[in-house]
């Protein structure tokens, strides 16, 4: 096998790995993806390193080997894209698709994988945060304020995300906006649990999937990746706290 052929396999495996990371997969899934693709292409997977900000792979055959790396940014959670990429990798392994065909398939997935409309996501997030507040003991008025505030917060988050703003800046800004609106709305409506509305409206920012993946990665034997995820989760919570703190000051609940 020529060096150039190894490179094409390496690059398509890395592209799949990056998409899976960006969609919320854990380290073990990405390792299985790399191993399956390599095996189906008739090459040996000599090494695969899955990091938080980059992924590298080493493939070999007939005495030739190649190492390639890609950067990974824009971590998120996209369940349907994640499942679609896995299905494509399975299909590629079963039918022996070429790297070029897999690349075309990935292009199609990125273009065609359905997403819920932004307005629906905002409403769903509002309902989820309001329900969360109810679980904490918020009264009905606080739950209504939480619903509206977190829905607005999610809409703003989507807009800021589209403009490519730093993720931690988005977290702080949305936490501030949602907490302020939630607290203000609950207070104006006469709620007895203003602080729960203020806090509950920021729950859309809680990084539940990365937090779970961090622990799963450590358990699965990827402590570096797990640690990086945990630090990222911690930083998100710090920025959420900053937003809540400023909102409290604006509402006169903090000096």
């Amino acid at each position: 096998m020529r060096h150039r052929d190894l490179e094409q396999i390496a690059l398509i495996a890395l592209r799949c790995a990056r998409l899976l990371m960006q969609s919320g997969s854990n380290g073990r899934v990405i390792h299985e993806c790399g191993a399956l693709l390599a095996r189906s292409q008739g090459v040996e997977l000599l090494g695969l390193r899955v990091g938080y900000a980059s992924t590298s792979i080493t493939l070999g055959r007939d005495g030739n080997s190649i190492t390639r790396m890609v950067t990974v940014a824009g971590h998120g959670v996209n369940h349907r894209l994640d499942q679609a990429v896995r299905a494509l990798v399975r299909e590629a392994a079963r039918t022996g698709m070429t790297p070029a065909e897999i690349g075309t398939g990935l292009d199609a997935l990125l273009a065609d994988t359905p997403r819920y409309p932004g307005w629906l996501v905002a409403i769903a997030v509002g309902v989820a945060c309001a329900a969360f507040s109810g679980l904490f003991g918020a009264d009905d008025r606080a739950m209504l304020a939480t619903l509206l505030a977190s829905g607005v917060g999610q809409a703003v988050r989507q807009t800021m995300h589209r403009r490519g703003i730093n993720v931690f800046v988005i977290v702080a800004a949305v936490a501030l906006l949602s907490a302020f609106l939630g607290g203000l709305g609950a207070r104006l409506d006469g709620s007895g649990t203003v602080d729960l509305a203020l806090f509950g409206a920021t729950l859309l920012l809680v990084p539940g999937v990365p937090a779970t993946n961090a622990q799963v990665d450590v358990v699965d034997g990827f402590p570096t990746l797990g640690s990086a995820r945990a630090v990222s989760v911690l930083m998100v919570m710090v920025f959420v706290a900053v937003g809540i703190w400023v909102a409290q000051i604006l509402l006169g609940m903090q000096t």
């Binding site: 959670v77 989820a128 937090a211």
Partner: protein
């Protein structure tokens, strides 16, 4: 209906809404949303019943996470394939101890405010709340991770 059961159903209904809402945020398929809601409802109902029977929040959260993950990976996988893992995570998200986190956060702000009063009591309440957050999150994460390891399946 007993007050205990009514409380558990109330918590389960709210948890179902929360889990399904987060499922939409995670772009889960419509069919998966039903399982997310069911997972959230089961997790909170079980945790509430255990707590009402004297279990600690941390232990009850751990057991609920184990049960939901085992059911997701062992049963729901028939319909959703490898997507069942995401259902387990979404189902466990409503168990995040947000009330204690809020209490801890507000306590930290109060402690660092100028002219803070009642520092000793605030410190104790804050530390306890923070520890409960850490232990409960650890219990949920461990419950999911251990169950996934025990019922290890190929992801492809």
């Amino acid at each position: 209906m007993t007050p205990l059961l009514a409380h558990a159903l109330h918590q389960a209904a709210l948890a179902a809404l929360a889990a399904a809402g987060f499922g939409v945020l995670f772009n889960a398929a419509p069919r998966a949303l039903v399982f997310c809601a069911a997972g959230g409802a089961l997790a909170l109902a079980l945790r509430t019943l255990l707590q009402d029977n004297g279990w600690s929040l941390e232990a009850a959260s751990f057991v609920a996470a184990v049960v939901v993950t085992l059911l997701a990976v062992g049963v729901v996988r028939r319909w959703l394939g490898s997507g069942a893992t995401a259902v387990a995570v979404a189902g466990c998200i409503p168990m995040v101890p947000g009330a204690f986190f809020a209490r801890a956060l507000l306590g930290l702000f109060a402690l660092t405010a100028p002219n803070a009063t009642g520092v000793d009591q605030t410190l104790a309440v804050t530390v306890v709340a923070m520890l409960r957050v850490v232990f409960t999150l650890g219990g949920i994460g461990a419950g999911i991770a251990i169950s996934l390891t025990v019922l290890r399946r190929r992801e492809f």
